[in-house]
């Protein structure tokens, strides 16, 4: 076991999978010689050579389009899109082909690729470098959308994503890239895609979050326990889509209250679907409206104002208090 940052853990996941399976290759802008602008693919070219760690021309559609061909041919490409804000350049290929080739060929071909992209705010970045638009992928049939929240689950989920026979969009919360270290076992560890994890037992309220909002949520929960004696149950969604809502439903049936926290814009955001599912299965157990703590329906502001955009501990606490007040 070693203490690792998320960047190191992701690097380890790829390194180990590439060692084991020569179908796995990496491609993207600046992923090889430079090791990625966040160094997530650092030094992999040294070990695996430029045949397997491929610096591409600056063309995202080119990257995913060729990766689709490779994947159908039998490789397992991991593509890096330099920032999720530029992932829209791949959208037509993802929607028309990656997500459909299995269906269109009636199972003859499938597209085992992973689209890795740093996403989310809070790092004083330039325009287009802070958005959270996982919904575009979550609403697209045939695509899995995964977002880890720490070094250990990032490593395990990335391995699962690489092995997944279907396309996985894997958003990496860049605010967590080096925010903290965690023990990551040397031996391989996988994690099932599609299953939210309960990360804290509690009885008063259910809080559901993911990505860089997990530490914020957990901090708020600790403070609330301290100050208000609120015992919150917390879920880390991990997979945005398709997700299994069984455990969340059970939790809300127990607590009767729920708060959802995400960076993405509020309207038509991930929280809406979670609410819809909770209403479906747990309506009669609810004692208060479900609260959303989210980003706003605006262009993400440059960093002088990003703190006001991002959900913070205060906003989470407020929402929990509000749902408990009734």
């Amino acid at each position: 076991m070693a203490k690792m940052t998320m960047v190191q853990a992701l690097n380890l996941a790829m390194q180990q999978e590439m060692e084991k399976d020569d179908r796995v290759i990496i491609m993207g802008e600046d992923v090889a010689v430079d090791g990625g602008v966040f160094r997530v693919t650092d030094k992999l070219i040294t070990q695996f050579g430029e045949e397997r760690v491929i610096d591409t021309p600056l063309a995202e559609s080119g990257i995913i389009g060729t990766a689709i061909g490779m994947a159908a041919y039998g490789l397992h490409p991991i593509l890096e899109i330099q920032f999720s804000g530029f992932s829209y350049y791949i959208f037509h290929q993802l929607e028309a082909h990656a997500s459909r080739l299995r269906h269109r060929s009636r199972g003859r071909f499938h597209v085992p690729l992973v689209v890795r992209a740093p996403y989310g705010g809070g790092v004083r970045a330039l325009e287009h470098h802070s958005e959270s638009r996982e919904i575009y992928y979550a609403h697209t049939p045939g695509v899995k959308m995964v977002i880890p929240s720490g070094p250990r689950n990032a490593r395990a989920l990335l391995i699962s994503a690489i092995r997944d026979p279907d396309p996985v969009v894997f958003f990496e919360p860049k605010a967590l890239y080096r925010a903290f270290r965690e023990e990551v076992p040397e031996e391989e560890e996988v994690m099932e895609i599609g299953v939210p994890q309960k990360v804290r037992e509690g009885s008063d309220v259910t809080i559901i979050s993911y990505g860089a909002m997990m530490p914020v949520t957990l901090e708020a929960v600790e403070e609330l326990q301290e100050s208000d004696q609120v015992d919150a149950e917390v879920f880390d969604l991990l997979t945005i889509s398709p997700f299994d809502d069984t455990a969340i439903a059970e939790s809300v049936q127990k607590t009767g209250r729920a708060v959802i926290v995400h960076e993405a814009p509020r309207s038509f955001g991930p929280a809406a679907e979670i609410i819809a599912r909770l209403i479906e299965k747990s309506f009669y157990y609810l004692e208060a409206p479900i609260e959303r703590v989210t980003g706003y329906d605006i262009v993400y502001p440059l960093f002088a104002r990003e703190n006001a955009y991002m959900p913070d501990v205060e906003r989470v606490k407020q929402a929990v208090r509000k749902t408990l007040a009734v």
Binding site: I25, E51, R52, T56, P57, A59, S61, G62, I64, G65, T66, A67, I68, G69, M70, A71, A72, Y73, G74, L75, H92, Q93, A96, H97, L101, R102, H103, R104, S105, R106, G107, R108, F109, H110, P141, G142, K144, D164, P165, D166, G194, P242, F243, D244, D245, T246
Partner: protein, 367 residues
């Protein structure tokens, strides 16, 4: 400190071998076996008749929207005829004949255009992607396949088909650029049939030819008479051989014509005049090839008549076969092939459909 012209390593060429009257340029004539020549002829004829039958089926409401290939038989066949079985292919949606040559069962087209997803099954052993309706998107797949072949050191090539309209999409250029940079074994076959629905070639780009677009990406480009199967074959063979031996990609523009409709939903009288069509009918790829084969004493009028009959029977069998399969599709199958394993949320939705269906059945029985 001069002002000077830059010498480029590649040029744009033009190739024609068999003219519209059936005259052949003996110097350029490829040496194809009689067997292959006759096989090509049969395929072209069968492709033409199948196309006509499909149009018919659509007009009778037995299938849905369908894009005819009439006029582009040589342009497709000359290219795919140069491939080995193990090679790969990605196509747009107007390469019916290329797909048939490669082994796609004729009945699957009827199924597919009849609204049955089953029709796009890619049989084991056939290394071709299903059709790609999103214009310009499939060339990149061939490049990726080519890159994978290179990585695996497999001696295969990938061929990709697309129209004149597709050359305006950014993805076309990204595909050529990647192919150039990675020297992928890919043959880009542009079916320049002069129209992208109602947009004539001249409005699609200010470039004189589509072949010259290769220059932007550091690869050879050649324009060939697409109604001349010998020219298409020759250019494609050269490109396939080059690709297979590590020489990288080639762009081939087949200069041809869409003699029929864009699709059965289209009305070309809105945008083009009959005279142009007439002019191109005189350049028909099949009739000139028949003259050529007659001159070679490989074909007679009686031979053609017999062939026509054979083909008619074959097509009828195919139609019957397809229509038998087109009864009562099980809707629940629409949940198949979305993921390798069905996630629980989707399972719930599938159960909902099953429930609705049995409810509907019950009501139908009651009512």
């Amino acid at each position: 400190m001069p002002r000077k012209e830059i010498e480029l390593p590649y040029r744009t060429e033009y190739l024609s071998i068999l003219d519209e009257k059936g005259n052949v340029d003996a110097e350029l004539e490829p040496s194809l076996s009689d067997e292959l020549l006759l096989k090509l002829h049969r395929a072209m004829l069968s492709g033409r008749r199948f196309d006509e039958r499909m149009l018919n089926l659509q007009r009778q409401g037995r299938i849905g929207t369908f894009p005819p290939i009439k006029g582009q038989e040589a342009s497709q066949l000359g290219a795919v005829a140069t491939l080995e079985k193990e090679d790969w292919m990605t196509v747009a949606f107007r390469e019916t004949l290329a797909e048939i040559w490669r082994g796609k069962p004729m009945e699957s087209f009827i199924l597919y255009y009849g609204g049955f997803d089953e029709g796009s099954l890619v049989q084991e052993g056939r290394n071709d992607f299903p059709i790609s309706i999103a214009v310009g998107s499939q060339m990149l797949h061939a490049v990726g396949i080519g890159m994978a072949m290179k990585y695996r050191k497999h001696p295969q090539v990938a061929m990709t088909f697309f129209g004149d309209g597709a050359t305006s999409e950014g993805d076309f250029h990204e595909a050529l650029n990647f192919a150039g940079v990675f020297q992928a074994p890919v043959i880009f076959i542009c079916q320049n049939n002069q129209w992208a629905i109602s947009i004539p070639r001249a409005k699609q780009t200010n470039a004189l030819t589509l072949a010259q677009k290769a220059l932007a990406h550091g690869m050879p480009g050649i324009q060939v008479d697409g109604n001349d199967i010998l020219a298409v074959y020759t250019a494609a063979k050269e490109a396939v051989d080059r690709a297979r031996s590590g020489g990288g990609p080639t762009l081939i523009e087949c200069y041809t014509y869409r003699l029929s409709l864009h699709t059965t939903a289209d009305d070309p009288t809105k945008y083009r005049n009959e005279e142009e069509v007439k002019k191109w009918e005189a350049k028909d790829p099949i009739s000139r090839f028949q003259v050529y084969l007659s001159n070679k004493s490989l074909l007679t009028d009686e031979g053609i008549a017999a062939l026509e009959e054979e083909i008619a029977t074959e097509i009828q069998t195919v139609v019957d076969l397809a229509e038998k399969q087109m009864k009562n599709p099980d809707p629940v199958e629409m949940f198949d092939h979305i993921f390798a394993e069905m996630p629980p949320s989707l399972k719930l939705q599938k159960d909902e459909v099953i429930r609705n269906l049995s409810l509907a059945k019950k009501e139908a029985n009651n009512g």
